[in-house]
């Protein structure tokens, strides 16, 4: 992780990309309780725009999205020089080994298969977002 770009971003700020509204609301509430500040969007296009407008510390993204899929969104985010170091955490229905390879190609740092083990997710987010410990 590049420290100079880290400093430009708000620590513990997370961009959540998830198309299912109920799950999104639930995730936002749960992550907020854990001390993250969450921006949530429902599509890949929005995710790209939101990242460029205001780079988060971590992107948590469902790979199955309507319209632009998570893979493409991740690739575009990574192609932007100012966003190249933002960790991307991918949520998929089933993590196949092929997915893992593909994820590494586009720069996904972690995989979580759905249903997400929330505690494991929080632990990984704390590692990636840099803000150590509970607030």
């Amino acid at each position: 992780m590049v420290e100079t770009t880290m400093s430009e971003r708000t620590p513990r700020k997370i961009l959540l990309v998830e198309d299912d509204q109920t799950i999104r609301q639930m995730m936002v509430r749960r992550l907020t309780i854990r001390g993250f500040s969450v921006v949530d969007v429902g599509s890949g296009e929005e995710a790209v725009r939101a990242t460029q407008r205001e780079p988060p510390a971590v992107v948590v993204m469902d790979l199955r999205l309507p319209g632009m899929c998570g893979w493409d969104a991740a690739r575009i985010i990574r192609a932007d020089p100012s966003c190249v170091s933002i960790p991307i955490l991918a949520l998929t229905a089933h993590v196949s080994p092929e997915d893992r390879v593909r994820g590494q190609e586009v720069g996904c740092d972690s995989f979580f298969s759905k249903p997400v083990d929330f505690e494991a997710l929080v632990k990984r987010l704390l590692e990636l977002a840099g803000g150590q410990g509970e607030p």
């Binding site: 109920t22 639930m26 749960r30 229905a93 089933h94 759905k114 249903p115």
Partner: protein, 416 residues
């Protein structure tokens, strides 16, 4: 009475190939003999009056009226026999006429007699020749007809087989499509079910978190019930997804080398807390196991987790042992290519055991033993999936158990 078959029936009189031809019925032979005898009587009766006519030289030729019919009816042997028989008959007749009326008759009779003699033999020979060739021709025709019938039959059989094959192929395609459709539907359904279920689990967890302090204990308990039921449902859906993938052949099997000890340790880390929950002792024996395997580590992991997870569920205050060893014998009906060995992954527990009747259906989908139903966890799909995974890796899964004495599950997998 003299029908065509009466005349043409042939048999023992044609010596060489009589065995191939149908024999003339005895009744017809007797009738023919009677005709010849009658004609012989006629000949004898008219011989002496004929000698008194103006052409007594021709008396010898009268032999024709009985020798030729004998030749026609009995063939060469009949003609020849009649000719031979005619020698004493002619001699005695001619002698009688010579002595009583005409002394020159004996000599005059000779040319005619010789002619009749020759005709008898010739006609008999000709008759045999004609009959034989006619028989051969008809035999040939019969054989040809037989062959043609056989060819037609074979062609019919071939057509039948071909159409049956086409039907089978069609039926197979329909079945495969149906299975694929079912699997695709199942996979799709599982996905669709998971999304709302994820919300349920998530909100229940959220509620639990928010109500951590100061909430009535009943609320926490009830939330716990929602969560455990939801997780059970989630597990069921996961298993269904796995099953549908296996059925749709979408589950790709890898073949890569990996360290067995590392994989087993990885599995043990997951299983240890489960074993501890029921105060079980967990043992691993790799002393007779190969260091490396060439297989699909992910699937093997899943197999071991399933088997060990089951063992921890059905055993309490007992022992669970995983032993991996090379099998130095051939498993029945499953030969391996040279250089490949069977590796047995043996999961033995000292748990409740399985009734033999239940063991028979143990690997079926949604089947749960009575003790499994009592636990109210699990989906009845785990062993079915495990067995299919074993088969996918080219091996098989067996079970040995009796009630109260624990169970032994063995996954036999090829070493590469």
């Amino acid at each position: 009475m003299i029908s065509d078959s009466w005349l043409n029936a042939s048999g023992a009189d044609c010596s060489r190939d009589s065995s191939a031809r149908p024999a003339v019925p005895a009744r017809i032979r007797l009738e023919r003999l009677a005709v010849v005898a009658l004609l012989l009587a006629v000949f004898v009766a008219i011989y002496i009056p004929f000698c008194r006519t103006t052409v007594p030289e021709a008396a010898g030729i009268l032999n024709l009226i009985w020798i030729v019919p004998a030749a026609v009816l009995f063939g060469f042997r009949g003609g020849f026999g009649a000719a031979l028989l005619s020698i004493p008959i002619n001699a005695s007749l001619a002698f009688y006429v010579t002595r009583s009326t005409d002394p020159g008759q004996f000599r005059r009779n000779i040319p005619g007699f010789l002619a009749a003699f020759a005709w008898g033999i010739g006609v008999g020979w000709l008759r045999d020749l004609v009959l034989r060739s006619r028989f051969q021709a008809s035999a040939l025709r019969a054989e040809q007809a037989l062959l043609e019938r056989e060819i037609a039959q074979r062609e019919q059989v071939e057509r039948d087989l071909r159409s049956l094959n086409a039907e089978l192929e069609q039926a197979r395609e329909v079945a495969v499509r149906a299975l694929e459709g079912k699997s695709a539907f199942l996979g799709r359904m599982s996905h669709e079910l998971r999304t709302p279920l994820a919300s349920i689990v998530g909100y229940a967890e959220l509620l639990q978190e928010e109500s951590a302090a100061g909430a009535p204990p009943r609320l926490r308990e009830d939330l716990g019930q929602i969560l455990s039921a939801s997780r059970h449902l989630m597990g069921l859906i996961e298993d269904l997804l796995d099953l549908s993938r296996i059925e749709a052949h979408k589950l790709e099997v890898k073949k890569e080398p990996f360290e067995l000890a590392l994989l087993v340790e990885d599995v043990m880390q997951l299983i240890r807390p489960l074993a501890a929950r029921n105060a079980n002792e967990l043992q691993v024996n790799l002393s007779r196991a190969p260091a490396q395997l060439l297989s699909d580590p992910q699937r093997l992991r899943q197999i071991l987790i399933n088997l060990l997870g089951n063992a921890t569920k059905f055993t309490s205050r007992g022992a669970i042992t995983l032993s991996v060893s090379v099998v130095h014998r051939d498993l029945a009906a499953t030969p391996l290519p040279p250089g490949v060995e069977w590796i047995e992954f043996r999961v033995a527990d000292t748990g409740v055991g399985i009734d033999p009747e239940e063991a028979a259906s143990l690997f079926g989908e949604f089947y749960q033993t009575s003790s499994g139903r009592q636990l109210a966890t699990g989906t009845g799909l785990g062993l079915s999936i495990t067995r299919r995974l074993c088969e996918l890796l080219g091996g098989r899964l067996t079970v040995q158990s009796s009630v109260g004495e624990g169970s032994v599950f063995s996954a036999f997998l090829p070493s590469r």
